[in-house]
């Protein structure tokens, strides 16, 4: 499963090191293979063909101010997948761009806000996902 995870989400061998770091961070509880298996199952269940790919790319670079990779809860990961897959009133590129922008923050309060937002997305109705996007896109685009 570990190998399958790398093959599914690495866009080139250059990205394997990042994904290995991701697996090491997320595999501390139940092992890397278990996390890989769970994530791939979420991917298979996700309606968007590229959502999981974008999520792995974003999570692999979501670091705190010390440069440590941030370990999101399962709920937050599922929220990220849902956000990318289900907020369909906005183009997929904008959704991906927004998620990338959210996860560029480095200070603790901002990180906590992102995590709260993603966890909320896991259960939110689609309309709320889209509202969430509208609410944050303006800020994201004002960089």
């Amino acid at each position: 499963m570990r190998e399958d995870f790398l093959r599914r989400y690495a866009t080139s061998p250059l990205h394997v090191a990042r994904l290995e770091r991701l697996l090491a961070t997320y595999g501390t509880t139940h092992g890397e293979a278990r996390f890989a298996e769970t994530f791939i199952a979420w991917d298979r269940a996700c309606s968007d063909v590229d959502a999981a790919l974008v999520v792995t790319e974003v999570l692999a670079t979501f670091e705190d101010e010390r440069g440590e990779l941030i370990r999101l809860s399962d709920k937050a990961i599922k929220g990220a997948l849902r956000f990318l897959a289900d907020a369909v009133s906005v183009s997929p590129a904008i959704r991906a761009y927004t998620l990338r922008t959210w996860c560029r923050v480095r200070d603790t309060p901002a990180i906590e806000r992102v995590i709260t937002r993603l966890e909320a997305a896991a259960d939110a109705p689609t309309t709320e996902l889209e509202q969430l996007l509208e609410h944050t896109t303006d800020n994201a685009l004002s960089r």
């Binding site: 499963m1 570990r2 190998e3 399958d4 790398l6 093959r7 599914r8 989400y9 690495a10 866009t11 080139s12 061998p13 250059l14 990205h15 394997v16 090191a17 290995e20 293979a33 298979r44 309606s47 968007d48 063909v49 590229d50 790919l53 974008v54 790319e57 990318l84 369909v88 183009s91 997929p92 590129a93 904008i94 959704r95 991906a96 761009y97 990338r100 994201a140 685009l141």
Partner: protein
């Protein structure tokens, strides 16, 4: 692109410390392959623990095979709507067919002209213009899947309709590794046809590898029963490449078995012989199994004989085989053991019904029967040819010089040539439709897809002084089907058994050759629309050409143009294409090389233009081919990098691939040559001391020099008079010098923070007769063009060069050749 492995030192197995020939003489090829692959059974010369690093051992614990077939089909369905065209380039008045698979009952199609395909909100966004054409409209949708898997098909013949005794022999190297205690979760669970004339309930016979990895024979009797008789011991699968994502997967020599199956219709006696090609007499897989079946007479059928697959009662094909097959034979009688051994020893009986010699017709799809019956067939879905056979002795690596040693074909259950979808609609290109980049835009519900194609000028005509070459060969090389990750079925992918993909066809959905891909690192097609958009925004009238016609028509295609632009990453080039550019430049043409890592891999298109072939070796790459398998099957010419063919891109364009990394781009700093009067006009309107491209980019967020970088190298052929106008700096250690320029791994050059060879060199050089080249040396360059409403120094420099190159005035050669630039770096 040919990514560098950041951890190859840690992950690679320790090399076997014996000479190749001595090792072959001692243990045969089985031992080499299985030991290097880390799946050694007990009894091999070296154990896993002795030969593998800890990291490699960890990797060996993981399942080794990838479910390519399932992934591709699943992902295409998930897209809801996708398609492909029957050609990537079409002339006015020409027809282009569009094939569509839809999960929706209805969908809408519109032909659009694509201008900017990157939806990144930091840039201009999607720009497209709907072309009002009769084909635009609603269509009925239906699902069309891709039939992956290669095999050889021999038409039915009365001689093959066996009803009594027979013998089948072959050399095989099966690669499907099924569940074992060391490799649970394998994707290979079914049986595989080796030589079959099988039609399910409609009868027949066939030799298979069964679901447990055992040699088996399947018989359908006239009494209505089907009997499957299996060997006692599973075959040990050959692992065709060193596994792992983070080391550099490299092909390894083949581990062969000679197999024979006899059926005696008089007695019901069945013999299954399997002999590994190794001198280990105690190898448990060296076995002969005897069985008795109650069947005395076989039901014949009119199905074709298949090699590497089996048929069904309905005529469908399944049970695809993974691995090599060499010289399969069918006899219409029971051979004695002495006769069987004689075949193994290359001296068998000559009364075969058929004996296929895959060493013949290697460049074609034909499989030739060398028996008097001439029961020839053809391959389906591009299995790999020019493969080393069971008798390859390592003395030659060019199949043209030792053809009889290249009698193997490597079949894969995920090979694909033509998806063979039904045509959804056909576009007849209007006579007055301008040359450009177009697409069939498909929409249904929230699903959307674009199927791109190029409208080129009518052959022999030009409508502009400027041409842009869309790198369709490179698009094919990168062309994945399904997910964007690791591009299944592209030349960057590996087959489900780990061997590298050598052929890439355009007759399938190329799902990463699309606009609107969700990435901050636009690549190939989408990145090239940055340039198309800039040309459009600046009002340049441009003819759009493709690699296909450049290969086909050569320099005559370019002659009408004052200037030709490449796209961002023209990496895959044929010899004909390189010669066309060389001729064009010598005749006074001007070239703007608008990207990086161009002209890198030797590439061979098939004669129909349907697919390309690449044999990888000794480059910065995703995988490397096996020993002896680096010559292209289509032409025989050696594969690898043009550099190692003596045609380094530095010779023609002043620069060549030097480094890659994908974290953050850098700006350029002007170099003293930028003030040379020969080239100072390039910087008109640019602040003398300003950094170039030091601002946000649509490629990796910032900077004009990034992704993959080229550099002038006078040792590699950069002409002495070439001017290095600017160089990038400040790259991170994510940027590494290309492996082909590192001779030893110990003390390898550091990354971009310290290595002066990690940089992009902007270069200008003149050719005789008024020709010239301007090279940006960065894939990311075009991602900077649109910043600040196209008002920036990258845009300005590009415009200065394009306007000068497009003008009537020749670019004068330098007064004297300046040889001061001879020092490398």
């Amino acid at each position: 692109m040919a990514p560098h492995d950041e951890h190859s030192q840690d992950e690679s197995p320790t090399p076997v410390d014996v000479s190749r020939r001595q090792f072959l003489k001692t243990v045969g090829t089985s031992g080499v392959a299985t030991t290097l692959a880390g799946v050694a059974d007990s009894g091999h010369a070296q154990t896993t623990s002795q030969t593998m690093s800890p990291a490699a051992r960890r990797a060996s614990d993981a399942p080794r095979y990838a479910p390519i077939r399932q992934d591709v089909i699943e992902n295409l369905r998930k897209r809801g709507l996708t398609g492909y065209v029957d050609r990537l380039s079409v002339e006015p008045d020409g027809d282009i067919r569009v094939m569509v698979s839809s999960e929706h009952a209805r969908y809408r199609a519109d032909i659009v002209r694509l201008i900017h395909g990157d939806a990144n909100p930091e840039g201009p966004g999607i720009k497209e213009r709907v072309i009002d054409l009769p084909v635009n409209g609603e269509y009925t949708g239906r699902r069309q899947d891709v039939a992956l898997g290669s095999y050889a098909r021999v038409p039915d013949h009365q001689l093959l309709r066996l009803e009594g005794s027979f013998t089948v022999t072959a050399w095989i190297a099966p690669t499907s590794q099924r569940d074992t205690p060391r490799a649970s979760g394998s994707v290979f669970v079914g049986s595989e046809g080796v030589v079959t004339k099988w039609a399910g309930d409609r009868g027949g016979y066939g030799v298979f590898i069964d679901e447990t990895g055992r040699l088996s024979v399947r018989l359908r009797g006239t009494d209505g029963t089907t009997d499957i008789l299996r060997a006692d011991h599973p075959l040990r699968p050959w692992v065709p490449a060193i596994f792992g994502m983070n080391n550099r997967p490299q092909g390894v020599a083949t581990a062969w078995y000679f197999v024979a199956v006899t059926f005696d219709a008089t007695t019901g006696h069945v013999l299954l012989v399997q002999e590994p090609k190794t001198d280990f007499s105690f190898d448990a897989t060296r076995a002969t199994t005897e069985r008795i079946t109650g069947i005395r007479e076989l039901v014949s059928n009119e199905a074709p004989l298949l090699i590497a697959a089996a048929g069904t009662a309905s005529g469908a094909v399944n049970e695809y085989y993974n691995g090599k097959i060499d010289n399969p034979r069918v006899y219409g009688r029971v051979l004695s053991r002495t006769e069987i051994d004689a075949i193994r020893d290359e001296n068998g009986p000559t009364d075969a019904i058929a004996s296929w010699d895959f060493a013949r017709d290697i460049a074609t799809h034909v499989v030739s029967d060398v028996s008097p019956h001439a029961l020839h067939g053809h391959t389906v879905n591009l299995p790999t040819r020019a493969m080393t056979g069971h008798n390859w002795d390592t003395s030659e690596t060019d199949y043209r010089r030792a053809r009889h040693q290249y009698g193997a074909i490597h079949f894969h259950d995920d090979d694909l040539d033509d998806a063979q979808w039904d045509t959804a609609f056909t576009l007849t290109v209007p006579a007055d439709l301008p040359s450009g980049l177009y697409a069939a835009r498909l929409r249904a519900g929230s699903d959307e897809d674009y199927v791109p194609f190029v409208v080129r000028p009518r052959r022999g005509t030009a409508s502009s002084r400027i041409a842009l070459i869309i790198p369709t060969f490179s698009y094919l090389a990168y062309g994945g089907t399904g997910t964007s990750a690791f591009r299944p079925l592209s030349l960057y992918s590996r087959h489900s058994d780990g061997s590298g993909v050598c052929y890439s066809s355009r007759l399938r959905p190329l799902t990463n050759m699309r606009p609107k891909i969700q990435t901050n690192n636009p690549w190939q097609f989408m990145a090239d629309t940055h340039l198309i958009d800039w040309l459009d925004s600046k009002g340049f009238n441009v003819d759009v050409l493709t690699d296909d016609e450049l290969h086909e028509e050569g320099a005559s295609l370019l002659t009408p143009y004052a200037v030709v632009l490449t796209a961002t990453h023209p990496e895959y080039y044929s010899l004909d294409m390189l010669e066309a550019l060389q001729t064009y430049l010598g005749q006074g043409g001007r070239l703007m090389y608008m990207g990086g890592n161009g002209f890198y891999w030797v590439t061979v298109p098939d004669p129909t233009g349907r697919y390309i072939e690449v044999r990888r070796r000794d480059g910065t790459e995703h995988w490397q081919g096996a020993p002896g398998e680096h010559h292209h099957s289509l032409t025989g010419e050696p594969g690898g990098l043009w550099r190692f063919r003596g045609l380094a891109p530095q010779q023609l364009f002043g620069v060549g691939f030097t480094a890659q990394g994908f974290d953050r781009n850098s700006p350029y700093r002007r170099m003293p040559d930028s003030t040379n009067p020969r080239a100072s006009w390039i910087f008109d309107g640019v602040e003398p001391d300003a950094l170039i491209g030091n601002f946000p980019s649509l490629v990796l967020d910032f900077g004009a020099a990034g992704s993959e970088l080229d550099r002038a190298d006078f040792a590699l052929g950069t002409p002495a008079h070439a001017l290095v106008l600017a160089s990038s700096f400040g790259h991170s250690d994510a940027y590494q010098h290309v492996v082909e320029q590192i001779n030893t791994s110990n003390g390898a050059d550091p990354g971009g923070r310290e290595n002066p060879l990690v940089r992009a060199d902007m270069v200008f050089l003149e050719y005789p007769n008024g020709g010239a080249v301007f090279s940006t040396s960065s894939i990311a360059w075009c991602g900077s063009l649109s910043f600040n409403n196209y008002t920036n120094d990258v845009s300005r420099i590009t415009e200065n060069v394009l306007r000068r190159f497009a003008s009537d005035a020749p670019v004068p050669p330098p007064a004297t050749t300046d040889t001061a630039n001879q020092a490398n770096a």
